[in-house]
Amino acid sequence: MTVARDLDRTVARILTGGTYLSVGLLAIGVVLMAIGGVSPFAVGPAFDPARLPADLVALKPSGYLWLGLVVALATPLGRVAASLIGYVAGGERRMAAIATAILVVVFVGVLLGVAAQS
């Protein structure tokens, strides 16, 4: 049962770390919004991963806000990926299959979202 306990702990750390990172990035974005006089009612820029590095360097609020959102969405996925690795390492095929299936479902969602974009 030590393996299960270790996995719980690893997953907990991913969730906590990811949450603080995402909230930190969002908070920076909100501060930049306030400094720059950006209204929440101004229509925000659409998500564009290619523009993200430039926006971060330019200290644009949207860059930090989008990165914070992406980290927030990626945190639960990171938790599932870590569980998958733990279950594979522990030889638990059934749980590994379930973890893989969850990631596949989310990936299909991404594909459907991208397809709807174009």
């Binding site: 909230v23 969002l26 919004m33 306030a34 950006v38 929440p40 959102l69 938790r79 749980m95």
Partner: protein, 278 residues
């Protein structure tokens, strides 16, 4: 209103929602959507997208704590979240096909249901019948798997997994359509139908929210359903509020708060119904 004032107001609103939700053991989604639509005039679908982000942030934080304390059942949570995520993906796609009025109507029903449930204030009774023994799901419930100093988790056997799967699919769809965590469906389902102890059901439901909401939030994000300038202040506010609420839960008389909350829910339901019938 000046831009800074709106940002501050949105953060303060988020904090209030976070405190309120945390004290009453509800996710923020139930309150975030009305706050953004009725308070700030946002389109309902956009409010749902923002709510999903806030729900992910708060649930990830508390799920981490639940797992660290070994209160959440990771195996059961992952098994069921495969289906909540599937439901959420479907719900995320359906949400863009429904009109705002239909979504407002569904949200009104959710508010009324929650208000009635809270007004009755009944604590669900644990199930006694044990019919399904699933080795994989049973594994983490073995007594003795506790870090020292923590209470022993009562051993239990998960039953009626089939109903759990069906209910999880439904919870996922509801979560994606209305921007809530879905605990209103998942906790009674796990506790009453599947025989999971209440505390474990609550913690496990919380753990599942992240993936469930993420599955639909990704669709909202890619379809332009999340406004980053609204999501940022709201999510930060709700996170701070939930942290304050969880620390002060022992010092607040929840009975009075519950009555106040029922009143707030009914007024909100009335206003949301007006939106649906407009």
């Amino acid at each position: 209103m000046p831009d800074l004032g709106v940002v501050v107001l949105m953060i303060v609103g988020g904090v209030a929602v976070g405190v309120f939700g945390s004290l009453l053991g509800l996710g923020g989604g139930l309150l975030i959507v009305p706050m953004l639509t009725l308070g700030f005039g946002l389109p309902l679908r956009e409010a749902v997208g923002v709510s999903l982000v806030a729900v992910i942030v708060t649930s990830s934080a508390s799920a981490g704590v639940f797992l660290e304390r070994h209160l959440a059942d990771l195996r059961l949570g992952m098994t069921l979240e495969l289906f909540t995520a599937t439901g959420a993906m479907v719900g995320g796609l359906i949400a863009f096909l429904l009109s705002e009025r239909v979504l407002a109507g569904l949200f009104t029903l959710l508010l009324i249901y929650t208000a009635l449930t809270m007004a009755r204030g009944r604590e669900p009774k644990p199930a006694t019948e044990t019919t399904v023994a699933d080795a994989a799901l049973r594994a983490p419930t073995v007594p003795g798997d506790r870090p020292s100093g923590l209470p022993e988790r009562r051993p239990y056997v998960v039953r009626h997994l089939g109903w759990g799967i069906v209910g999880s699919l439904f919870a996922g769809v509801v979560s994606a359509l209305l921007g809530i965590g879905g605990g209103l469906v998942k906790v009674p389902l796990m506790h009453l139908v599947m025989g999971v102890p209440m505390r474990v059901a609550t913690a496990t439901s919380n753990l599942m929210i992240g993936i469930t909401a993420a599955a639909s939030a990704i669709i909202y994000l890619l379809r332009g359903g999340i406004d980053v300038y609204v999501a940022g202040p709201t999510a930060v506010g709700v996170f701070v509020g939930a942290s304050i609420g969880s620390r002060s839960a022992q010092r607040v008389d929840v009975r009075v708060l519950r009555l106040l909350f029922v009143a707030v829910l009914l007024v909100t339901a009335w206003q949301m119904a007006g939106r649906a019938l407009r």
